[in-house]
Symmetry: C2
Subunit: 199 residues, 2 copies
């Protein structure tokens, strides 16, 4: 057994397996990813996977928590910052989502799939209705600066506008015959457009 992982030396074996697993799980989902694929991708022996992580399931859970946890955590920070205004938060959220998803284009579908097949396992970092963002939103409504609206719609709109184009990227690129560069350019435009639209 690897005992207490010592000093975690270099990025060897254990990390290679995790990287390979993250790539394949995120890309193809749990069922479609075979342990042998992971072993190949990592350039290691199949047995090492079970040796380090006990089972395919365990390994998957680790990857999922990392994929989800980071994202939710960062969102929580933005959404709960008392020092930024409502509109600033919208800007930060759009920017965060799009910047992050340009680097991790496969994460949205992964998260959505996982949420459907295993809703119980979703790590809940914060109770969204209690966030500073929502309080500020309700305040704007009271002041008459925004039309009355269920805050649920606000969240769906931000995410729909920012995240959906990534989940649907393969479909959109196919239907519209757009190059990768053009797509990135479109997304960068959206960074600035989304906050305007929300208002």
């Amino acid at each position: 057994m690897p005992t207490k992982a010592k000093i975690k030396a270099d990025d060897s074996t254990e990390d290679k397996i995790k990287s390979a697993a993250r790539k394949l799980f995120t890309q193809k989902g749990f069922a479609a990813t075979k342990t042998r694929d992971i072993a190949n991708e990592a350039g290691i022996n199949l047995a090492l996977l079970n040796y380090y992580f006990r089972s395919k399931e365990k390994l998957f859970e680790i990857i999922m928590l990392e994929n989800l946890g980071h994202f939710f955590h960062d969102v929580a920070v933005i959404v709960n910052d008392e020092k930024t205004t409502f509109y600033k938060k919208i800007e930060l959220l759009a920017d965060f989502y799009i910047t992050k998803l340009l680097d991790n284009p496969d994460v949205p579908l992964f998260v959505l799939n996982e949420a459907r097949s295993n809703p119980k396992k979703l790590p809940l970092q914060f109770q969204i209705m209690d966030t500073c963002l929502i309080k500020q939103f309700m305040e704007e409504i009271k002041l008459g600066k925004i039309k009355k609206l269920n805050p649920g719609h606000l969240m769906m709109n931000i995410m729909g506008l920012a995240v959906f184009p990534f989940a649907a990227r393969p479909m959109i690129q196919r239907v519209r015959d757009i190059s990768d560069d053009e797509y990135v350019a479109l997304m960068l435009e959206r960074k600035k457009l989304i906050p305007e639209w929300i208002k």
Copy 2:
């Protein structure tokens, strides 16, 4: 072999298999759905699946074409109707998506997943940039009624606003602790709100 299918009598066996397959494939995806699951769900013998459909792949393609084809076809009709105005089309699209997805909540994720793992197989019913909707959109811009905007954003916005809440439904319901009824109510609200937002 079933030869030329005769008169397709009642909704027997072949249709039972298809129904079961549609349910499971749409819900869990290709890799996670086992042929035995389908046979069980349909209440038939495992061999019948291969007898009627040759292989798991073939059966899946049929289901996919039905799931996708119907949808794209209906959208194509709305989007190319010369007799409706630009704004009317937006209303019809929002209404169509939300009505349809309330009955088929699992289709969005299914389509998005399939588009990613098999973009080549996506049935292209129409070239979106050549649709009447887009022409009318460009016209509105020329008339100065709308700000200049890449039409790609328009399509992403409509779908993001209408489709994303369904793809993300399990996650949203989990994060916000909303009942099914409340969720449906929210979606029905969106039917009317989305066209307003688009303007």
